[in-house]
């Protein structure tokens, strides 16, 4: 079964000094990006645009979290929404039923999700490729069914967060800006953890497991332990993303936080940007959200689903023509330039040799 991602590139490679200028330039660029991101709510006043920015950040954060297990470790989970929903439900219940501080509730949701991911991983990691993907879908569906029927969690009716308890303790605001900063902070945190993983031995282990699990074992790597680590970290951050959703929309139900399409979207974001790369999901989230919101704003009122048709067509075109995502495309671009150069040199040398 061919599930390896042959065309994958590492961010390390992409950001390597030789391909993108030297590394201090890189850091300055990075700092500028963060600064720009911090200024968005100050510059963009329109709440609807701010909302768009938040949606991008949230989608990016989910993509980055998914990427840890789906991209780096190559365990294509198609049921990540389970953790998203668990996070959203846990924090909301703790907040509304137990009066928890929202931040603590959020953390609890993350920890609970990570713990549950260990159980799921324990049973599913023996499965290969598509079987694993399907098993995760099944788990997510089961969790959705449970929540749809669980009275305490509001069953199909869902849960509402109290809009009147505003403030940082309950993480409920009328303004968009606080949500924006929370989403940004969360994204940066997830990226930082991801970056750290990628550059530590874990990142190497994950990629090794993805490429050749059998060979990885011969090097003393306990496959399920490291898959578990990837899965747990990933589900922790996914759950936190779910909590943030609940805090922002103030209403959750199984249809909105446990919907299978969302799992796919988390993966799409990564794929679109470049699987197994640090910044790929961020770029992917930007592109996807723009396509999504753009087509809906432009064609959504027609009543014939034109927006969906265009959105879907775009996805297909991107998947077919840019299978390695934006990052892969960038890399290919540079690689081709390099190759053309090398070819020329080779030809020149050949000509010289011929002449000699």
């Amino acid at each position: 079964m061919n599930i390896q991602d042959k065309t994958v590139i590492s961010a390390h490679e992409l950001l390597a000094p030789d391909s993108h200028g030297n590394s201090s330039v890189k850091y300055i660029l990075l700092a500028l990006c963060v600064l720009a991101a911090l200024l968005v709510p100050v510059v963009v006043k329109d709440p609807s645009h701010q909302n768009l920015a938040i949606l991008i950040l949230m989608a990016a954060q989910l993509g980055v979290a998914w990427n840890i297990v789906g991209g780096y470790a190559g365990q294509v989970s198609l049921g990540h929404v389970a953790f998203y929903g668990l996070g959203a439900y846990t924090s909301t219940l703790l907040l509304t039923q137990w009066g928890f501080n929202a931040w603590v509730a959020m953390l609890c949701g993350g920890i609970l999700s990570a713990a549950i991911s260990l159980i799921i991983g324990w049973s599913c990691f023996r499965l290969n490729g598509h079987y694993f993907g399907m098993a995760t879908i099944a788990v997510a569906e089961i969790i959705q069914i449970i929540f749809t029927n669980w009275e305490y969690a509001g069953a199909a009716v869902g849960l509402t967060l109290p809009m009147d308890q505003q403030g940082w303790g309950s993480m409920i605001f009328t303004d968009k800006a606080p949500y924006y900063y929370i989403a940004l902070g969360l994204l940066l945190l997830t990226l930082a953890v991801n970056y750290w993983i990628e550059h530590s031995y874990l990142g190497y282990y994950f990629r090794a497991i993805k490429d050749e699990p059998d060979a990885a074992r011969s090097l003393g790597i306990n496959l399920s332990r490291y898959k578990q680590i990837a899965f747990a970290v990933s589900s922790f951050f996914t759950a936190i993303g779910g909590s943030l959703y609940a805090q922002k929309e103030l209403y959750i139900d199984p249809g909105s936080v446990l919907h299978t399409g969302l799992s796919i979207k988390m993966a799409l974001v990564s794929i679109l940007g470049g699987v197994g790369t640090l910044l790929g999901p961020v770029i992917g989230a930007g592109v996807l959200t723009f396509i999504e919101e753009g087509t809906r704003a432009l064609f959504g009122g027609s009543g014939r689903g034109t927006d969906l048709v265009i959105y879907a067509a775009l996805i297909v075109v991107i998947a077919v023509y840019y299978p390695t995502g934006v990052m892969g495309w960038i890399k290919q671009f540079f690689a081709r330039r390099k190759a053309v150069k090398a070819q020329k040199e080779q030809d020149v040398q050949e000509a010289k040799r011929e002449a000699a």
Binding site: N2, N128, E141, I145, A267, R304, G305, Y311
Partner: protein
């Protein structure tokens, strides 16, 4: 639970299970040959249903008579789809393949809605209608026809794969595309054929379903998850596995729904599926 109810639920479960199997066989075939999970398979089913519906509503042709046409139409659609799109992602990473077929799923649904409106359509009078009485239980005639059709098609596909040269070539291509080429097998043709046959299976399932199931752009969604479970349970790539798994899933769903409560019937099927995977990670009849 009386004996009558047991037999009745069993019969209903088997009949719906056969339909699941037929949908799943197309999926498993495409997967087996190309290693691609076709998320848009439910939409093939939907196209099959619409094909039957339109021939019925425009020309008053019964879905049973137009079934071969529907199969042919879907075969053409499958091969065309392969040539236009899937061909380009044959060697792409698994994730972009998922991405592509998922996009196709949305695209097909969108197109169906765009052209045929989101309304529910039905074939209200077909030559197969009413119910038959067997062993003291009632079973719907359309369901029985569909079940028989599903068995026939499955057997046909199985014989085709195991007994014919083209079947062997398909298997070889599935195993190693490049090596198959070295045997003189045109792998492009094989892939196109796999998509054609896979789509045709879904088309036939659609035609059979159209006599008793409402037709609407999103109808594929009702079947696709179960079809995936069936494919997995049977083992990716195994036609006979899909047949058995389909029946098992159908029976569990109906029986479980009756005994435990309908709201948990899908959970039950999924739970069983996970349990089986724990012991047989490659599915019931899958190859390791």
């Amino acid at each position: 639970m009386s004996l009558e109810i047991i037999i009745q639920t069993l019969a209903s479960g088997i009949l719906i299970g056969l339909i699941y199997a037929l949908v799943a066989i197309g999926l498993t075939l495409i997967f087996g040959v190309m290693d691609i999970v076709n998320f848009s398979h439910g939409e093939f089913l939907m196209f099959g249903m619409y094909s039957s519906f339109w021939m019925y509503s425009l020309f008053a042709l019964d879905p049973m008579f137009t079934l071969p046409l529907t199969a042919l139409f879907l075969f053409a659609l499958g091969t065309l789809l392969y040539k236009l799109i899937i061909k380009k992602i044959t060697n792409a990473p698994m994730l972009s393949q998922i991405f592509t077929t998922f996009g196709l799923m949305m695209l097909f649904r969108g197109l169906a809605q765009f052209f045929w409106k989101p309304d529910f359509r039905t074939v209200d009078h077909s030559i197969v209608s009413g119910a038959v009485q067997v062993f003291g239980i009632q079973v719907g005639m359309p369901q029985v026809t569909a079940g028989v059709g599903a068995i026939l098609v499955t057997m046909g596909i199985y014989l085709f794969l195991t007994k014919t040269r083209a079947g062997a070539a398909l298997e070889a291509t599935a195993a190693d595309k490049e090596a198959a080429q070295l045997m003189g097998i045109d792998s492009q043709k094989m892939f196109a054929m796999a998509w054609g046959i896979g789509a045709a299976c879904a088309g036939v399932a659609g035609a059979l379903l159209s006599t008793f199931f409402p037709i609407f752009p999103e109808v594929g969604a009702n079947f696709i998850l179960i079809a995936f479970v069936v494919v997995n349970l049977g083992g990716f790539g195994s036609v006979i596995g899909a047949l058995f798994a389909g029946i098992i899933v159908g029976v569990i769903e109906v029986m479980g729904g009756f005994l435990i409560g309908p709201q948990y019937k899908l959970a039950l099927v999924l739970g069983l599926f996970l349990a089986v995977l724990m012991f047989r990670p490659q599915g019931l009849m899958g190859k390791q």
